[in-house]
């Protein structure tokens, strides 16, 4: 299924990448840093990170399913699955609360996307993972703890 993308297709993909940010073609490097989608990524602790995305008063809910290992046997490779059961989910943020910069990922879901994403992340230490979801214009969150072990005998 893998193949090289013809130039026009590549161009269109990059254009769509640009369009998504609402910026002009040709400003790609500047765009990514400038995009509002980067809000919160520079925050060095959870609270300012939440504040940057306006999620300090997000409501805790059981309608976000956060699947992650209870114990991460390898802190550099933690598989995380997120499913929002909230209607009209538009954005999902993932925080590793004790990482040097806790905001790990932001997913903007456009029409046609199911509210399920999975990604693998690095964790600095045992911490809560926190998912903030924007749905119907409201902010919700859930969190669960993943413990990180050291060691390294597994084989």
């Amino acid at each position: 299924m893998d193949f090289d993308v013809p130039r026009p297709v590549r161009r269109r993909l990059l254009k769509s990448l640009l369009a998504a940010g609402g910026f002009a073609w040709g400003l790609l490097p500047a765009l990514v840093r400038a995009a509002t989608g980067r809000d919160g990524f520079d925050a060095k602790a959870l609270d300012p990170g939440l504040a940057a995305i306006g999620a300090r008063d997000a409501r805790e809910t059981g309608d976000i399913v956060l699947k992650a290992p209870d114990i991460a046997e390898n802190s550099a490779l933690v598989h995380v699955e997120i499913q929002s059961k909230l209607p009209d989910t538009t954005t999902i943020w993932l925080f590793a609360e004790k990482n040097p910069q806790p905001l790990v990922a932001r997913f903007d879901l456009l029409p046609g996307l199911e509210p399920i994403v999975a990604v693998r992340i690095k964790m600095n230490e045992s911490a809560f993972l926190r998912v903030v979801v924007q749905a119907g214009g409201q902010l919700y969150f859930t969190r669960r703890e993943t413990k990180v072990t050291l060691g390294g005998c597994a084989g």
């Binding site: 893998d2 193949f3 297709v9 269109r12 769509s16 940010g21 990514v32 990482n99 399920i116 994403v117």
Partner: protein, 104 residues
């Protein structure tokens, strides 16, 4: 140039389950080169876009905390055989890569 993106698509009714592996070092800037003892500069994918027949369906911003050779899974509704699913990424050095696959 980074290794090619790998994409696997499984069509479950009208929902495409898309799994993507994007070969990339994802350097945090906190790792030291064991030979030189210098920090390896930060180098990570920070923007990922997924498309369905050219239309953006997912726009993701990432930090350096995403694992090496990033994995991404997402599901697209209203997909049929012959449709195209695309992925494009850009990293903090301005390097980009993309792939478009036809749904079987």
């Amino acid at each position: 140039m980074a290794d090619p993106i790998k994409m696997r698509i499984v069509l479950d009714g009208e929902v495409a389950v898309v799994k993507v592996l994007m070969p990339h070092p994802m350097e945090t800037g906190l790792r030291k080169d064991p030979l030189t003892d210098d920090f390896v500069p930060m180098h990570f994918i920070q923007h990922v876009v997924a498309t369905h027949n050219g239309k953006t369906v997912l726009d993701a911003q990432w930090s350096r905390s995403v694992s090496k050779n990033p994995f991404l899974e997402f599901r697209v509704r209203g997909v049929k055989a012959g449709d195209k699913i695309g992925i494009a990424w850009e990293d903090n050095h301005g390097e980009t890569n993309s792939l478009e696959s036809v749904v079987k």
